[in-house]
Symmetry: C2
Subunit: 341 residues, 2 copies
């Protein structure tokens, strides 16, 4: 039985994992992305990082008690903007020296394995579809929100990742949910990301705490803000769940706009399941129930919803597992160039 | 060379057309949907209407100087909600007696041709992709807005219609663009349809004309409103283009939200082309230029747009041609049940 290697490139860590053909994760290795022996930006230079990815891959394979020859293919999940079919990372906010990096071919040569490049949010969505929240074999249409510092998305349609014409699809964080809304780092106004990311949820609360003595006195978030000068989305979630009225108002704003985004996802591509992942999903049932309530309250009256909202199940492993999964799919469909090419 | 028959079912007319394998429309027939010899709702009963569709199909084939045996397959474009794979129309607002109608099999039997069912907005999008605005062979990702009484959508992804898990995809008119916005007939608030359809654009102008003597006096739309009690989207477009400030404000509101919807379409599924069709598109270059200006003004600063906005080219023939097109595709892929099944 062939095994698959998943590599997940992040700004902080490089992760590697080996799965069997059913998506069971046999081993997991995580090493810092940067080479600690090199100073400054050069520690994140493409050649350095790719060597580390190859190392992490070899470690994961060895740790599983396998040989390179047991691995059929490897999937590489990368952040930033890419030309996926060409296997090139065009640029990435967290990897400043990366420009037009032929990462797929380099990893393929380094490991002597057929390789495929995938966007990291797409890979995570594929992982959740394959063996996570969407594991049920009846599901072949799934959408995933990754709610962290930013808001990412991934579309699985008929069991395949949707990339769009220029590999720009599922940039859900920059769909505009509030015309003339808050400015976003991207240059637009009212992006979903500026309302529903973990970072902006914390910022929105902090801004209002900073602006009002009354809020600081009445809210249980007041003392935290007084001490640290800021509150996080996790603080907001905890205090909202504990019944603090101000925290609950902030939490409901986030969840309501996320619910409206879910409605738009349904009307747009009609998935069977919408998965909530990323830092915000650590609020667990409290996130799911609040979003689901707003989803149902705001859904049209014509027909009941045909999508279920669910929490992600694979946590930080989703990217590695999904990368292995897209490698398996491409391998089985004979879509991969030979090793080293 | 095989030919294809397209049938386009509407609440008012049934259209039929024959195309060759390149999508050239050879003939076009349009007859009323209702049987004029029958009174009331029964004139639109499924059996009656399907018989008329079959008749229109036969007429179109004869008019082209062809025999039934020259036709490889027929595509049926239908409004309303359907189970497309099963070939069943579940319900349709404009066809009150239609419930769970096995339209595909009935048309297939009536014409003795292999048949396929498609949603009308999807069929029109496919037609525009095949031989209309998106004819260029380099385009295989296209999104179409149909801006009429309502707002419909169609997604072409890798040269195929995207249906979603429950055939609900591309219900773009009911994506929410203004949270807590105007109520929509569907039960939601702030739907795209309540801002960008032709009917609501006319209504928004009429409402403001009704509410303000000053607006009625200053705007060149005032006399029309005084005479008829309402203005249409076409009135708004004409007077806006002629320089009337009030008409231009209304027109810009519509075009700006439509531009934001275009931005969301891009971030969502990343098409190469967005096509504007339906009644509103009769405003031609004035619509296109206004939407395109707002699109560029509101687009993010990260990368330039990779989608072009264009006007539809096939007018009312898009549905018939697209229906023939989806029949051709399914026929060539061996996906059609035999005639009469």
């Amino acid at each position: 039985m062939p095994y698959y290697l998943g590599l997940d490139l992040g700004g902080t860590n490089v992760k590697a994992g080996v799965t069997d053909g059913q998506g069971k994760l046999l081993t997991h290795v995580s090493i810092p992305t940067a080479d600690a022996t090199i100073k400054g930006r050069a520690s994140l230079a493409p050649k350095i990082v790719i060597r580390r990815m190859v190392d992490a891959g070899r470690q994961a394979i060895a740790k599983a008690g396998l040989q390179l020859s047991d691995i059929a293919a490897t999937g590489v999940a990368s952040p930033g903007q890419a030309s996926l079919a060409k296997g090139v990372v065009l640029r990435s906010a967290n990897l400043p020296l990366w420009e037009n990096v032929r990462i797929r071919a380099a990893v393929s040569r380094g490991l002597n394995l057929p390789a495929i490049l995938e966007n990291d949010a797409n890979a995570a969505a594929y992982g959740e579809w394959w063996v996570g929240a969407g594991k049920s074999r009846r599901i072949d249409h799934l959408f995933m929100f990754t709610l962290g510092t930013g808001v990412g998305g991934g579309i699985i349609h008929e069991g395949k990742v949707v990339h769009g014409a220029s590999d720009f699809a599922a940039e859900i964080g920059h769909t505009i949910v509030v015309p003339d809304g808050d400015p976003c780092g991207c240059g637009q106004r009212g992006c979903l990301e500026t309302y529903c990311s973990a970072s902006y949820t914390g910022k929105r609360a902090s801004r209002q705490l900073a602006g009002s003595t009354k809020v600081r006195k009445q809210s249980t978030l007041g003392p935290i803000f007084a001490q640290t000068g800021a509150v996080t989305a996790a603080d907001v979630a905890h205090h909202a769940e504990a019944g603090d009225a101000f925290a609950l108002t902030i939490w409901n704003q986030t969840c309501r706009l996320l619910a409206i985004a879910c409605i738009n996802v349904c009307h747009f591509i009609d998935p069977q399941m919408i998965v909530l992942a990323g830092g915000m999903s650590q609020a667990g049932a409290f996130l799911l129930q609040t979003v689901d309530r707003h989803f149902r309250e705001n859904w049209w009256k014509m027909t009941p919803p045909t999508s279920t909202i669910a929490l992600a199940r694979l946590g930080n492993d989703a990217g590695v597992i999904g990368a292995a999964g897209v490698a398996k799919r491409a391998h089985e469909q004979g879509q991969l160039p030979p090793a080293g090419k």
